[in-house]
Each structure stands twice: as structure tokens, then as C-alpha cells.
């Protein structure tokens, strides 16, 4: 708009110049040249003026819906994105985590009584003393109008790096369908698909440690379908390699892991919401090395070949006054897992493999209460039922159990400091008293919060 007066000013200044050129009327080639120059300049200015007038008209149309405008609105903003070579860089987020762990019993002898875990499995509170915890680098971006990609690289305190997730996902299938391919955390249960830094307690429940290898992630395909109803209903199916416990990574042409899951949920008034689900994970294992602690505490290694089915029943209920969780809120969450393993168990002694058939189960129930802004208090209780194993694992009906108490302080949405106490009776003998003091911080891209 401001350019208009300045353009007319320029024209006005040029006009006498033209008049002067005509007045001196000397038929020299120089004057003709000048005339040509001036007329071409005039034409150029006229063209620019017309263009400006058109733009002005358009701008007026956009800014003024009706002539009866009493107040002049601010001019419409144009959304401009930053340019340059880094303009299409993916969103980057970094989770920094670390802390202090204290336990009254040696973590090296940690075992969940009655449950055969794969050798080298991550179970128990973790390393004692001050330590870095798993830090995570996340990258995500749209690939094209139809796909997006996500990678989460976990950096472990022992200086090793692992690919926690690396997947592509469709965004434009429509009809409520989404297809994911690559490495991802399985959508079974409630806690499984959540990253460790989103958990409400420092460690995962015993049932997850004993039956899903802490958290089940796999390489494969996931298809989800959301029903076109106002009641939330999502069905999911996965096919995977079966690369981790309860599966075992073996190169086979078929799928080593299959899951089916159904989740539903909704609101109850403004203040309550819930979600519940049922999932089934089945995995194949071949020559899976298991550590079997017996009643005396000595550990033998045996190999399991066969199929495992894990049923998961999950439920979460959230409350916040009028749905505003800024001040106070409450979250109740529980899951029941039942695992059946059917196959054979053998050792390196050369004796024939024995049939191995076992049904085990476990559950946890936890409540987290935000009693004032930034502060939350949580309580979790857990039980495991090892079943009646027909081999040396028999522990005389000992049922592992654990109670945990958590207090966390969240200075902002991006930072959390947590104190957690636990009384862990997952092995016979005196309770293992565990204490965590940890920090979890999020840098960079704002991660969205899953329900």
C-alpha cells in the first residue's frame, strides 16, 4: 500500500524530465535515445502500477469482508516457512535421563521366582549407584504426503546404542486405517507402546519383566483400524520377526510373532475418561536360552523351543475436575497378563528334551494422583502367579510380589524429578528395598502426550 504513493512520486518526478527533453527539441541521436529510455521507463512504471493496483484490490477484498467496516482489522498475515537447506530437517527430540539407584539386595542375583527369563534379560532395578539411564534421541518428519517416518535411538549407560524404534507409517490411507512398518513397540496392552520416559514409575511392572521381556518391540508390520463410530474402537494386528523374548530371533520365512488387539474407550461426563483393551501376542521360540533359578537359588541354563501366547487385559481410567488436569488429576491403571508356553526344554548335557508346558499370570494396579500443580504421588501393587512348573523351577508356591511408592515433581512440562521406593519380594528371602532418584528431561521438539 505504501509503495503506491512512492511510485506515483517517481512518475511525477520523471514527467518534467520528459517535458524538458521535448522542450530542448534538438534532433540529436542522444535526445532520441533519452526519449526512448524515458518511454520504456514509463511503460515499465505503468505496468508495475497496474500490478500494484491489482494487488491492492485483492488485499482490500481479503481484509474487508463488508464495506460496513467500523474498525480496521490488522492486515492478513501470510504464513511463511523458513527457507534454507535445513528447512526440511526432521523434528528432533532428546530425552535425557539419569539418577541414583540403591537396593538392599545385590542386583546381580536378581531373579523373579518361578519365571524363567532369557539369559542376559533386563530385569530388576538396574545398576546400583549414580548412573546415566537410557537417554533417547528421537527424529520424526513427514516423508511425503502419504507417509511419515520416526526413529528413536536409545543410548545406554554402558556406551552402547540401540535402535528402539525406526518405522514408517501411512498418513493418507483413510477409512480409519494406518499401516506401520519397521521396528516399533507393539501395540498390545497399555504400557507396552509407551516409551519408558512416559511411564509413571521408574521401572516397568514385574508382569512385563517376566512375560514380555520388560517391553515388547519387534520388526514387522502393524495394521490398525479405527471404527467409524463415536465410541472409540480400535482393532490392531501385527506380524513380526519375533526378535525378542518371548520369541527368539531366528531367520525364518514366516512370521515369528503375531498379535491381535482391540481397544475401546470413551468419556463419562466432562471429568472422566477411560480406555480398556484385550490383546493376544503369540511368538515362536527356537533354542531360546533361559536361566532357571531353582529353590536353592542356583541357576541352570536350558533351551526352550515352542510357542508362547500372552494374553493382556488392560484398563485405564482418568479423572480431572471438568477435564482440566492442570491442578489436580487422578489416573488408575491396571493390567493382567497371562502367558502360556508350550514346547520342549533341553539342556547342553545331551539328554533328550522334555515337554514343557506352563501357564503363568500376573497383574499390577497403580494409581497416580496429582495433588497440586507440578506434584504427583503414585502407588503400585503387583502380584505374579508362577503356576505349577513341572521341572526344577518349582519354588514351592512362592508368589512374587512388589509394592512401590512414587513422588514426582515436574517443574515444567519438559522436566521431571522422581523419587521412588519399592519393596520387591520377587525372590524368596528378605524383601529387596529399592530406592530411585531420577531425572527425565525432554529437549527439542514437543512430543505429543499419548493417552
Amino acid at each position: 500500500m505504501h509503495k503506491l504513493p512512492s511510485a506515483s512520486l517517481a512518475l511525477a518526478l520523471l514527467a518534467p524530465l520528459g517535458a524538458w527533453a521535448q522542450a530542448t527539441a534538438e534532433p540529436t541521436s542522444e535526445i532520441q535515445l533519452l526519449r526512448q529510455e524515458i518511454s520504456s521507463m514509463r511503460a515499465a512504471y505503468e505496468a508495475r502500477l497496474q500490478a500494484m493496483e491489482q494487488r491492492l484490490l485483492l488485499a482490500e477484498k481479503a481484509a474487508a469482508p463488508t464495506p460496513a467496516q467500523t474498525a480496521s482489522p490488522p492486515p492478513a498475515a501470510t504464513t511463511t516457512a523458513g527457507g534454507g537447506a535445513n528447512a526440511f530437517n526432521p523434528a528432533i527430540s532428546l530425552i535425557l535421563s539419569g539418577g541414583y539407584i540403591r537396593s538392599s539386595r545385590d542386583p546381580a542375583t536378581y531373579a523373579i521366582s518361578g519365571f524363567a527369563l532369557p539369559t542376559g534379560a533386563e530385569a530388576g532395578p538396574g545398576t546400583r549407584g549414580l548412573s546415566l539411564a537410557e537417554s533417547e534421541l528421537g527424529l520424526s518428519a513427514s516423508i511425503d504426503p502419504w507417509l511419515r517416518g520416526v526413529a528413536n535411538i536409545a543410548m545406554h549407560p554402558d556406551n552402547s546404542v540401540s535402535v528402539e524404534e525406526a518405522f514408517i507409517e501411512t498418513t493418507a490411507l483413510g477409512h480409519g486405517l494406518s499401516l506401520k512398518a519397521g521396528r516399533y513397540l507393539s501395540g498390545v496392552g497399555y504400557l507396552n507402546a509407551q516409551h519408558a520416559h512416559n511411564w509413571d514409575f521408574a521401572d516397568s511392572p514385574l508382569a512385563y519383566q517376566a512375560m514380555l521381556g520388560t517391553q515388547y518391540g519387534d520388526d514387522g508390520l502393524q495394521l490398525r483400524w479405527l471404527a467409524p463410530t463415536d465410541q472409540y474402537l480400535e482393532l490392531g494386528a501385527e506380524l513380526g520377526r519375533g526378535r525378542s523374548f518371548p520369541g527368539s530371533d531366528a531367520a525364518r520365512n514366516g512370521a515369528g510373532m503375531r498379535t491381535l488387539s482391540a481397544h475401546t474407550g470413551g468419556d463419562l461426563g466432562d471429568s472422566h475418561s477411560w480406555r480398556a483393551g484385550l490383546s493376544l501376542l503369540s511368538a515362536k521360540a527356537a533354542e531360546q536360552e533361559l536361566s532357571l533359578p531353582d529353590a536353592t537359588g542356583s541357576v541352570s541354563t536350558q533351551r526352550f523351543s515352542g510357542n508362547t501366547r500372552v494374553w493382556l487385559l488392560d484398563g485405564v481410567w482418568k479423572w480431572a475436575p471438568n477435564g482440566n488436569a492442570t491442578r489436580t488429576s487422578f489416573k488408575l491403571q491396571g493390567e493382567y497378563l497371562r502367558s502360556t508356553r508350550d514346547g520342549s526344554l533341553g539342556d547342553d548335557s545331551g539328554s533328550a528334551a522334555r515337554a514343557y508346558r506352563l501357564a503363568q499370570s500376573g497383574w499390577y494396579l497403580q494409581g497416580v494422583y496429582q495433588f497440586m500443580p507440578q506434584w504427583r504421588l503414585g502407588l503400585r501393587t503387583e502380584r505374579l502367579q508362577p503356576g505349577t512348573p513341572d521341572y526344577s523351577l518349582d519354588t514351592g508356591g512362592y508368589q512374587p510380589r512388589k509394592n512401590s511408592l512414587m513422588l514426582d515433581f515436574n517443574p515444567s512440562e519438559f522436566s521431571r524429578i522422581r523419587l521412588q521406593w519399592a519393596q520387591d519380594r520377587s525372590r524368596p528371602g528378605p524383601a529387596d528395598r529399592q530406592l530411585w532418584l531420577q531425572y527425565q528431561m525432554s529437549l527439542g521438539a514437543h512430543g505429543a502426550h499419548s493417552y
Partner: protein
């Protein structure tokens, strides 16, 4: 004989098929009946009540509006809960503020919805903040400054001139998404715009005495309101955007008000009134609850009521001796 056998088998198959079709129809009928009314109207999913109300004004009975949040909820802190995912799944048009206000939940909601129509960049995805001039655009982006929004302050709905701009763009978008009713949307838009401009004129006249009034805000949520009415923000109770007011910061505000006194302190309906009330008790600055969006107060029943109520409340506090 072979032909008879074939005939018989045909008849048999036909019978089963008829039975199967009958069964399917019996199953499908209630499903269809229940799905039909929903199909009739354009389904609009509004992130905040003000855009829900605007879509209703511009769409009338051509649209079916579902609003994700209420005026009593903090639009920054919403979770992608199952009911919202289900509604986003069925939406034809998602109308949100944008400018990163919903960044903590909307991207996840859209991802999980499996709805291609409403993904970012599609015509079924409308961001109101894209069509207005934004204030408070930070020069430096660093979280040490609190919960700052890179695109500028997202609380654009507190200025009715912004609502007018968004209405124009939203009216055009509705016509684009539902071209069969384009002329009706155009008609409703011109009708709304006319009534809205008249209302702005009325509000401008009513609020004239407020020009230049010094105010305190609890959250930097009213910059557009101040820009419109010429109010002057002399202090903010939150030490940084999105950070809860602390005792020491409140003491600092109290001290600063001695040299630059304020007429009133504003907080949105969804916010905890305690910090404002504390200031009211200790500095005698009256507290004003602003509806902030449709439904925030008794009077803010629709978009017109929202500004009627806001100005009434501001005048009540501002003209007090």
C-alpha cells in the same frame, strides 16, 4: 442324474444366499439407520469452543459440530483421549487455532485418527491463526523463556477483529469442503459478517472508556484483547508463560504495582483464580474473570455473548473508583 444334482445344488446355494442376505440386511439396517443422520451434515471437529461456535454460525444446519475442549480446560494441556480420536476419525473438517496451541495433542490425535481428509496440509485441516496477524512473536526461541510459541501468541480469539478474519477464511473453507452448499455458506457468511461488524462498532463504543487502562494478566492470554481495546499490560502473574505463579514472583509484582498501579487483574475462566485473588487482597486490584471462550461464563453463550460479557466485566472493574 448329473443335471438334477447340479440344479439341486444351485437351488440350495440360492437359498443360503438369500438367507445370508436377509441376515446381512437385518444386521446392516440398524447400522445404516444409525449412520445416516451423521452422513447428512458436514462433520466439523473444532479444537476450541470459539471455533465450534463460529462453525455453527457459518454452517447452521449444514454442519454437525463436535467441540474437543470446554472453556474450563486449558487448551495447551489436553490429552489425545479415546473419545477425541473417535471424533477426529469421522470429521470432514478440523478447525483449530494452530500456532502451536494444540501441539501437545492434536498431531497425535490426527495420527491416530486414520483420517486422511484432516491431516495437516489437506483442505479438511483449518488453522485459524494462519489468517491473522500474530502478536508476541518471539525473537529468540528457547525454553528458558517458558512455554513460548514460535509462531506467536496463539490466543487470537480475544479480539473480535480476528474472529471476523477467521470467519471469512472459514466460510470459504466450508464452501471448499462442501461445494454443494457453497452458496448457502456464502450467504451465511455475509449475514454473520454484517452482524459481527455492527457488534464490533457497538463494542468499540462501549469499551472506549477503557482505553489506556493499566491491567495485570495471570497468563499472557489477552494480548489481542489489549491490542484491540488499548489496555496496557503492566505485569503478568506467571513468571514465564505456562509456569505457575510463585510466591516470590507475586511479591515482585506487588512491589512493581506500587510504582505502576493497575486497575484490574485478568484471568481466564479455565485458570485457577487464586493468584489473581491473592493480588486482589494484597494490592486491592479487582479480579476480573474473562470467559476467554464461548461457555467460559454464564453470559458467554455464543460468540456475541462472549464479547458482550467480556466488555461488561471489564467496564464493571474499570469504572470502579
Amino acid at each position: 442324474m448329473a443335471p438334477t444334482a447340479i440344479d439341486e445344488s444351485f437351488t440350495y446355494t440360492e437359498h443360503t444366499m438369500i438367507h445370508r442376505n436377509t441376515a446381512l440386511a437385518m444386521l446392516a439396517t440398524p447400522l445404516l439407520l444409525w449412520a445416516l443422520p451423521a452422513q447428512a451434515a458436514l462433520r466439523v471437529f473444532a479444537c476450541e469452543p470459539e471455533w465450534g461456535a463460529l462453525a455453527q454460525e457459518l454452517g447452521g444446519n449444514l454442519v454437525e459440530v463436535a467441540v474437543a475442549t470446554s472453556a474450563l480446560q486449558d487448551p495447551h494441556q489436553i490429552q489425545a483421549k479415546p473419545s477425541l480420536i473417535a471424533r477426529a476419525r469421522n470429521a470432514d473438517l478440523v478447525v483449530c487455532t494452530g500456532a502451536e496451541l494444540e501441539i501437545g495433542w492434536l498431531p497425535l490425535l490426527l495420527q491416530q485418527s486414520g483420517n486422511a481428509k484432516v491431516q495437516a496440509g489437506q483442505i479438511g485441516n483449518f488453522a485459524a491463526a494462519d489468517v491473522v496477524r500474530k502478536l508476541d512473536v518471539p525473537g529468540q526461541l528457547d525454553r528458558s523463556q517458558g512455554d513460548v510459541h514460535a509462531a506467536g501468541n496463539p490466543h487470537i480469539q480475544t479480539d473480535p477483529r480476528n474472529i471476523a478474519l477467521v470467519a471469512t477464511a472459514l466460510g470459504a473453507r466450508l464452501a471448499q469442503v462442501d461445494p454443494a452448499h457453497a452458496s448457502q455458506y456464502a450467504q451465511r457468511l455475509s449475514d454473520f459478517s454484517q452482524r459481527w461488524q455492527q457488534a464490533i462498532g457497538r463494542w468499540n463504543a462501549q469499551a472506549a472508556p477503557l482505553r489506556g487502562t493499566a491491567v495485570v494478566s495471570q497468563h499472557k492470554a489477552f494480548v489481542y484483547l489489549y491490542d484491540w481495546l488499548g489496555l496496557k499490560e503492566v505485569a503478568v502473574l506467571e513468571p514465564k508463560p505456562g509456569v505457575e505463579p510463585t510466591a516470590s514472583h507475586l511479591q515482585g509484582v506487588l512491589a512493581s504495582l506500587k510504582s505502576t498501579p493497575a486497575r484490574m487483574s485478568l484471568h481466564a475462566a479455565y485458570q485457577d483464580p487464586k493468584p489473581s485473588q491473592w493480588l486482589s487482597q494484597n494490592a486491592g486490584v479487582p479480579t476480573v474473570k474473562i470467559a476467554f471462550t464461548v461457555g467460559g461464563t454464564e453470559g458467554a453463550k455464543d460468540l456475541f455473548g462472549l464479547f458482550d460479557d467480556t466488555i461488561t466485566r471489564l467496564l464493571a472493574a474499570g469504572t470502579r473508583p
